[in-house]
Amino acid sequence: MELSALLLSRLQFAFTVSFHIIFPSFTIGLAVWLAVLEALYQATDRPVFRRVFEFWLKIFGVAFGLGVVSGIVLAFQFGTNWSVLSRMSGPIQGPLLTYETFTAFALEASFFGVLVFGRSRVPPWLYLFSTAMVALGTTFSAFWIMVNNSWMQVPVGYALENGAFVPKDWAAIIFSPVVWVRFPHMLLASFITGAFCVAATGAWYFLRKEFEAEARVMLRMGLFLAALFVPAQLLFGHLTGDYVHKFQPAKFAAIEGRWETEQPAGEVVIAWPNAKKEANDFEIKIPFLGSLIASMSFDSKEVGLKDFPVQERPPVVIPFFSFRIMVACGLAMLALAWLGPYLIWKDRLEQSRWLLWLIFLSFPLPFIATLTGWFTAEVGRQPWTVYGVLRTADAATPFLTTRTVAISLALYVVLYGFIFLFGVFYIYRLLQAGPAGALVIASRDATPSRPMSVVKSSVVKAPLATGQAQEARGD
């Protein structure tokens, strides 16, 4: 493929948005979990809940800061690289993003400060309320983003007037059934990400034989929540598949690796899709299963890619594989999320070091699943930016040169790589220091608008707080 300004713009958007999504998908779930922890602490008065809360609050702060920084770039990138899109769909996407910024900013900014340094200044119920409001703020943010993206996937409630998409029915846009399948899908993805990161950290401490009281809370809560969320996620994943089947048949065929229209249709388990031959190499296929998955019947007719003109087909390899990777991650997580609680019930988990290792090593799975899920959705939407009405090739800024976009892409890669390394390094240091016994008082200059400053006091103080932590440092 030729390195055109268009391709580079697409790569740049994919890179910056993928980088960004890592952080919100983690913090949205974590914010809700923090609210639950605080409620548990207030209900039971057990200090271990409080220690776990304070510990994860610090990590939340760093991840939240990186999410904010990487989000600013996205707010501008629509205009810089996709000026035709932003001109045409501005009347719809602009207001949705305005709501996103306004609602999330108002809530997060107001209550994050209380969360970080307000515990001693407000009554407990108000503190609990603030944790819930921060969680609500991040959820709102996700909601408006999903409304926005769902409109690009299945545009509704608009009319094309004077070369712009004019909103005619906001209720149809916001209450589109597609939104209400994909928003829970994304929300559950965040919950699962949070749950697995928490459980993995608990498993890690168990393996290192430290902070066992806190580790037990993390491991148990993480696994039990995951045991509930993962099956729900599979259901919403299936419903998401249904909307693709109904509204984006070409994407569906690409995901399935189905070239010919079949009746009844088989299900390709694994293959190498070959666009040149318009067929699959090394295909392993199960008969009838394709019809069953797509339409819940044994003899339905399912369309293949060859039914679409070549210029209206999405690339096949990326959606095909990223979908399978996502599903594989989901099934692996389901196995862990059910096996873990089963062993807890049998009271054997803490002796099963092999499973603790697996849980510890599983923390990348939800991130991989989220990213590959988005790759499936976004690459599968091609060649359209707004499905069926605006081609990606027509959406880009017309006068951008390859050189210009190459410069910006290179700069983003270097800059993001740099801050990502440092951010991950600080999170690692926090995890290694662990939930020290003594409660860490938030640094005085931690503020709503400077979430990362929470770390300052804790990194220094935490390792000195208990003998246990000092040992950890000695490793």
Partner: protein, 328 residues
């Protein structure tokens, strides 16, 4: 409806310029601080506030996209490289706050990034305004200038001018926020910087007359516009008086008035154009369906809430920074 969103946009821009202006300015002044103690007090003066200030840039961006998509699309794509530089500068500057005190050997890297990021962001904003005043190369409502079509000696001059202006705003903030040696230095800086800014204003004005810019005709046609420079003159006198009297809140107020009147001047001399003299406000505005959807929620309820929060945040952090304020 359109008027309401013009007002929200104008308010967001002005809030952004005044607030992020002073912390970018402090970032520029940072380069001239001789020792670590001085640098730390400088950072303390803006630490709790800068990120909230920057959020107003995002607010400006999304309001522009939602209410005036044509302008959003045209301007952002025309200023592709400078915007990239500005965003990179802002990111570099933001992480410098967090990372500089976690490193000893590499602190100079973060400090350098802090200063450079502040300078680049200020320069780009000034140059963008300069390019707008001069007129972007447009044809049929589309930008045709290429990568550097926005850059001209005039735009570059405005960029440097805004660096000086922000530094002045920053120095005025430091006078308000700090005590002791740093305050004395800041007062000295105000003298130098305000002289510098005056110099730039005169040069810019002379160039504008000389180039016979279209903006100047509008001045002749609307003498009421001269009220704004008059306000600036009054504010400049106030600045001089407050420096002499050592009234610590005075400089920031007067420099803020100067910025506000400069902003008002520009806005009214562009009116009714948004991209002078190509795209009018009416042509740029999103359809009524979009504007009213935003108005009945985000505009009417959430925007005032954001202003309340802004006031609250500044209320919490008002007054002098005590030199020992960072310890319990």
């Amino acid at each position: 409806m359109i008027t309401f969103w013009v007002a929200v946009l104008a308010a967001s821009i002005l809030i952004y310029v005044l607030l992020d202006g002073f912390d970018l300015g402090v970032g520029i002044i940072f380069a001239f601080m001789p020792n670590e103690g001085r640098r730390l007090s400088l950072l303390q003066a803006i630490e709790p506030l800068w990120d909230g200030n920057e959020t107003w840039l995002v607010v400006t961006g999304v309001v522009l996209w939602g209410a005036f998509p044509v302008v959003y699309a045209t301007l952002l794509s025309a200023f592709y490289l400078p915007l990239l530089a500005m965003l990179a500068g802002l990111i570099l500057r933001g992480v410098a706050f967090e990372f500089r005190d976690k490193s000893e050997k590499l602190r100079w890297v973060w400090d350098g990034g802090f200063v450079l990021g502040s300078l680049v962001a200020a320069f780009v904003q000034g140059a963008a305004v300069g390019a707008l005043v001069e007129g972007l190369p447009m044809s049929n409502g589309h930008y045709v200038g290429g990568d550097f079509g926005w850059l001209s000696p005039f735009a570059a001059l405005c960029g440097v001018g805004l660096c000086v202006g922000y530094a002045l705003l920053g120095a005025a903030w430091l006078v308000y926020k700090c005590e002791g040696e740093l305050k004395k230095t800041a007062y000295r800086l105000i003298r130098i910087l305000s002289a510098g800014l005056l110099f730039f204003l005169v040069v810019v004005f002379a160039l504008a007359l000389n180039k016979n810019l279209a903006v100047m005709d509008r001045w002749m046609a609307r003498p009421i516009l001269f009220l704004f420079p008059m306000a600036s003159v009054v504010a400049a006198l106030l600045l001089g008086a407050s420096v002499k009297q050592r009234w610590d809140a005075g400089p920031f107020i007067s420099v803020a008035v100067i910025f506000a009147s400069a902003f008002g001047t520009l806005a009214l001399s562009f009116w009714p154009y948004m991209i002078p003299f190509v795209i009018t406000i009416d042509r740029a505005a999103a359809p009524h369906e979009s504007l009213s959807f935003m108005f009945w929620g985000a505009g009417l309820f959430v925007f005032p809430l954001m202003l309340v929060y802004l006031a609250f945040n500044y209320g919490v952090f008002r007054g002098k920074n005590r030199p020992s304020a960072d310890h319990y």
